[in-house]
């Protein structure tokens, strides 16, 4: 089998490539250049986009004795991930760019190019398992990345290999050290790779400019002002700078973002709880489900898991009735459905509300 190992310069993708070599496959390493003006040195907790990161990837490929190339996907990344990220925030959504990158870059642009060039599959260092074509959670619950892979179709997954799903992050690091890979103790990346300083609000403001508006409560009473509704996310508590304190002094959270009126609606933690989540564009990671069913759902990249009854509407909408109300369910995020540890599929959250007040 000929495989293309996507190598970010981090420890996970280096060990994934090493395991592909051990499997006896013909492995070629590729680092994706996602920025036309990469920084020279890595800063903060970004982990893939500087020249230093591409050098790290190259050194790992050297140690593994595999060919290595840098492919320029900067333009595609800008159009499919960064522009989409900004556009989503602009309409009051909270996008997940890692998920979008998997959907549009790694397992679309990169995979298509790899297949056309004669490779059979793309290997990545994601923490997730693929067993008989079924996408599963990693054994390392803390590092599990099945959520950001749940946008992939069965067809895309049939050309994906995730060699790390049975290992914890600690095991991966230990193995990297044992193999003499210099990235063994490289820090994990956390932030959004294209926002160098980690300041998402500042990044959005630079893209979208200042758009001052009101912060209101559910009754419409003005409690404060903001410089751009796009800078907020549902469930956010910090950075509201409200001038009118809440009665009883209880903390207030962003309940919703209204792009048309350019207002941010805030309320109490209790107002934030929802138990009915409406979604669009379901994607099934194995076979498409057509009848209503019960499963577990995850509503953010980390945590927020609840039981749910899923109803499929004829128009492609998907509605999840949660058994436990959740706070901070943001339109634009993915709802991922699980049967135990097995991913069933995902859909994009469009709205959420509280219907059952006794729940």
């Amino acid at each position: 089998m000929r495989v293309l190992a996507a190598m970010s310069g981090g420890v996970d993708s280096a060990v994934a490539a090493a395991r592909a070599v051990d499997a006896g496959w013909d492995v070629t390493g590729v680092h994706l250049a996602l920025s036309r003006q990469p920084a020279t040195l890595r800063t903060g907790s970004r982990g893939c986009c500087s020249v230093e990161d591409s050098h790290d990837a190259r050194r790992s490929a050297d140690v593994l004795g595999i060919p290595f190339y840098i492919w320029d996907f900067a333009e595609r990344f800008q159009a499919e991930v960064i522009d989409d990220f900004v556009a989503e925030y602009e309409v009051g959504h909270t996008p997940n760019p890692c998920l979008r990158c998997n959907e549009k870059i790694k397992f679309a642009a990169l995979l298509d190019k790899a297949l056309a060039l004669g490779f059979d599959a793309v290997v990545t260092g994601h923490h997730a398992k693929l067993i008989d074509g079924q996408l599963m959670r990693s054994v390392d619950a803390g590092k599990d990345q099945s959520y950001v892979l749940a946008v992939l179709t069965a067809e895309q997954l049939s050309h994906a290999v995730f060699p790390l799903g049975d290992s914890t992050k600690d095991q991966v690091r230990a193995e990297a050290a044992q193999r003499g890979l210099a990235v063994a103790d490289k820090p994990d990346s956390h932030d959004i790779c294209f926002i160098a300083d980690g300041n998402t609000q500042g990044f959005l403001q630079k893209q979208l400019g200042e758009r001052p508006g009101d912060i209101v409560d559910s009754s419409g009473a003005v409690l404060g002002a903001h410089s751009g509704a796009f800078g907020f996310t549902v469930g956010q508590r910090k950075g509201l700078n409200l001038t009118t304190p809440a009665p009883g002094g209880e903390p207030r959270y962003v309940l919703s973002i209204q792009p048309k009126s350019n207002t941010v609606v805030v309320g109490s933690a209790r107002d934030l709880e929802v138990d009915l989540v409406c979604c669009a564009r379901p994607v099934w990671t194995s076979s498409a489900l057509t009848a209503d069913f019960e499963c577990l759902v995850q509503l953010r990249a980390h945590g927020m898991v609840s039981g749910a009854a899923i109803t499929l509407a004829a128009d492609g909408q998907l509605v999840a009735r949660l058994t436990e109300p959740q706070r901070g369910v943001a339109p634009g995020q993915a709802l991922v459905m699980y049967d135990g540890d097995r991913v069933l599929g995902s859909a994009t959250i469009t709205s959420a509300e509280r219907v059952c007040m006794t729940a």
Binding site: A33, P67, E75, R76, L115, A116, L117
Partner: protein, 414 residues
């Protein structure tokens, strides 16, 4: 393995390897006064005389450096600073738009930090400078020109520049002329004395000599501010302990390259033409970049419409054929070549290009290996170009799409 990247570096000559290693067994700093020092100094000076003879220069015109990039930087910055010191009005730098980054980035640095006004001289669709454009630029204000820099032959597309005509223009106005001749020596007849060039960059590793050794040939009357200060070893223009083994190897490589030049150039030009016509027979829509006749004998620079250069490179590499994409690698990311852009190529043509460069170890078997593989490789790269959708003509907005006439006017076919 089929090595077709001689323009990047060419295999070291066996004679050079044995001479350099022999010299490495010998101790001696060429600046030391004792017997060993004098022996090393003698080797350096003999090498200087031999290199000068090979390039038709005087020994005192040879300034040894650490390679082509250093020589370019020394010439551009050193001569600019010296000539501006003589006359503060001299702040203009006229350079061709297709220079190597060692020249381009040096002039840009002078613009940013030393008040230089840089003018990039346009080239035609073959990458050739029009001397009339240089004349017009000089004549706008001859007194203000500090330096003109035009490479002897282009490292990417292989086009040979009209250096004699350019030198006539600069001489007429008493303006210093620098030429990067890194690709020219050993491929074209190069006489420093006859050229009218005031400063000329040469380097060893393009001739079968060692890496990290080069020289700036600098006329005695051209003043040049040093960039490296210290012992003043090289005419007080360049400091640093001399690399005796490297210098000895460089001189031998240059001598051999010049001795063998005529026969080698004829042989390589024939192989190159066989390579180009063989590729064209397999891939009829291939485009040749650069001048059809005024080009380096070992250079074939081709664009494959619909392909990404990096796909072509990888697929050929996997088949044991080594070449280079037509683009300069900037910070690890392939950028469309400034040379092709200056020639008027659109970005897809620039990105879909490959440089196959032949040299002293190249044989007909190498050419046949490429011809044998190219159709399959291009077909596959084309599919990948469509698949990844990045910058194929079809994916661009209509305004950015190359028109047929634009493509065929660019250097065309031979």
């Amino acid at each position: 393995m089929t090595y077709l990247d001689h323009a990047a570096t060419t295999p070291m000559l066996e004679e050079v390897i044995s001479t350099v290693s022999q010299q490495m067994h010998t101790v001696g700093n060429a600046s030391s006064l004792h017997t060993s020092g004098r022996a090393a100094r003698r080797m350096v000076e003999e090498a200087r005389e031999r290199l000068a003879a090979a390039l038709d220069a005087r020994p005192s015109e040879v300034v040894f450096t650490g390679g082509g990039t250093e020589s370019d930087n020394l010439a551009i910055k050193g001569i600019y600073l010296a000539r501006r010191a003589e006359n503060p009005a001299r702040t203009r730098l006229l350079v061709s738009a297709v220079e190597h980054h060692a020249v381009l980035d040096a002039v840009q640095w002078l613009a940013a930090h030393e008040g230089a006004e840089v003018e990039f001289l346009p080239v035609d669709g073959y990458g050739m400078l029009d001397p009339a454009a240089l004349a017009a630029s000089i004549e706008r204000d001859p007194e203000s020109v500090a330096l003109v820099s035009v490479m002897w032959a282009n490292n990417e597309v292989g086009t040979v520049q009209p250096i004699a005509e350019i030198a006539e223009l600069t001489a007429e106005h008493g303006i210093a002329l620098h030429s990067d001749a890194v690709q020219a020596v050993g491929a074209l007849p190069v006489s420093f004395a006859a050229s009218g060039v005031d400063a000329m960059t040469v380097t060893a590793h393009k001739l079968g000599g060692p890496y990290g050794t080069g020289a700036l040939l600098l006329k005695r009357e051209v003043s040049c501010v040093p960039l490296l200060h210290g012992g003043g070893q090289e005419r007080d223009v360049r400091s640093g302990t001399l690399d005796t083994p490297g210098i000895v190897g460089f001189a031998l490589a240059a001598e051999l390259a010049v001795q063998r030049r005529a026969a080698s150039a004829a042989r390589l030009a024939e192989l190159r033409d066989q390579l180009i016509s063989g590729i064209r027979a397999q891939v009829p829509d291939v485009l040749l970049n650069g001048h059809p006749t005024e080009r380096l004998p070992g250079n074939a620079h081709l664009s494959f419409p619909g392909c990404e250069g990096d796909s072509l490179l990888m697929l050929l590499d996997a088949r044991g054929i080594e070449c280079s994409t037509g683009s300069a690698c900037s910070a690890g990311v392939a950028q469309a070549s400034h040379v092709l852009i200056a020639m008027g190529a659109d970005e897809p043509r620039a990105r879909g290009s490959l440089r196959l460069s032949l040299g002293h170890t190249s044989s007909e078997a190498d050419v046949l290996a490429v011809i044998d593989s190219i159709a399959a490789v291009v077909e596959r790269a084309r599919r990948a170009g469509m698949a990844s959708g990045a910058l194929t003509a079809a994916s661009l907005p209509a305004a950015a799409r190359p028109s047929g006439s634009q493509l065929s006017s660019l250097g065309g076919r031979i």
